[in-house]
Amino acid sequence: MNEARILLFIAIVFLVLVIYWISITISLIYRNRRTSRLNKIENTFADIVSRYLYNDPVNPITLNEITARLKNVGIRPKNKNNIQFLIRLMIRTQRTILGSNFTKLQQLYTQIPPYGVSIKKISSWSWYRKARGIREIYEMNQSQYFEEIFKYRNDKNIYVRREAQIALVVFLGWESLRFLPYLERNMTLWQQIKIVEKLYDLYPKPELKWLHKAYKTEKLFGKKLLMRIIRKYLLHGEVDYIIDNLNHEDYEVRETAIYCIQTFAVPLSTMAYIKELYDEIPNATQQGQLLTYIFENSDIDLDFYLKQLYSDNDELKLSVAEILWNNGYKEKVQEFYYQQYPNSVLNVG
């Protein structure tokens, strides 16, 4: 390699390094400015919110002042990233406050400008932006966009329809259950749990008329959701709905029913009915789970347990024998054991 080539190589390496250093410098300057801008927005928003919630009668904050201050720190229609940051701040703040200040905060949010950014996201082609837009709208309680969101409750994208269904719960509360029979697509377990939790947080007082209307649903996910609601709200008067699903033909509906019934204690007559349903459950594992529930929530019913002990289901016999053995019926278990073998095998004559 001659001298000229080495010099050329060094020049290229140096050039690459210079470009690299320049890009790092630009990145650092940009990040520095961006952080400083975001801090300004955060400080300004904090100041506005604090003054709005605790307005000084001598120097009250006005809407014009709020808008002007937000504009000054970069909350303008063209600065979408700044507006997005403001929306995140608004949602975060709303989550931290309860009581009369929460209502005041919602009033403020209807007056300050996210410039309809969230509602614009709903028309986006990207499912992610669409779902995020719906979420922002219900988090900020912008109920004026309810009609727009409502039509996405059956969207083909799971995330979009999930957010739309949660928005229904946020805006309508218990009344949202009346749409349950008309939902067309499956609702995952996670979605069911989110809906139940949201309903419980926002509408802790049950409105049974909507629950009763929703009982008409034939959708399996709907039945599971209703049982979870009954369990969460401890609606003892509605336990019959869970019991009726203990012998449902669908495995997951039965599984949910068995899971939910465990929260409730039931009277003797109902327990007798559950014991009847027990025989109709086609899955041994689920029968075992229900057997545990029956054992833990009622007195020993010897006839019932002996019937199970002498039944054909080998998987359950051990559990039944264990219950009888530990609860004063050792001789019944021994009797069952001995009758399986002829006397000659046992060497007892």
Binding site: E42, F45, V49, S50, L53, Y54, T96, I97, L98
Partner: protein, 117 residues
């Protein structure tokens, strides 16, 4: 003038509580971490300290112990995002805690405590 110290990392909560305290006739010192505390502040006997417990580099219980040791005060109110039952039990097991409020908070309750003082 009676003084209250507010320590909150979240600037929005900090400003809101600062405002609440000031409008109720207290002199308020609002800071985002203990590092911002001056020597003079450490010699002031605050009527209330309203503080978070979640700060970088220090465990919640250690932070409270540090505050109780370093800053003279009469009442200590905790306002925090860490509202888990376990944390709450551990905090109340300590001496000298006036109140514990987990986010989301009703600021009217804090205002009532301050006004009643």
């Amino acid at each position: 003038m009676r003084k209250i110290l507010v320590i909150q990392e979240d600037i929005v909560i900090l400003k809101i509580i600062e405002r609440l305290v000031s409008l109720n006739g207290f002199d308020c010192k609002a800071i985002r971490s203990l590092e911002a505390l001056s020597i003079e502040d450490q010699q002031t006997n605050f009527e209330f300290i309203i503080t978070d417990i979640l700060f970088e580099g220090i465990a919640p219980l250690q932070f409270i112990a540090q505050v109780q040791e370093v800053i003279p005060h009469k009442n200590l109110l905790i306002v925090t995002n860490m509202g888990q039952d376990k944390i709450k039990q551990e905090i109340f097991a300590l001496q000298g805690i006036t109140g514990f409020y987990a986010v989301p908070i009703d600021l009217d309750e804090i205002e009532a405590i301050i006004q009643a003082y």
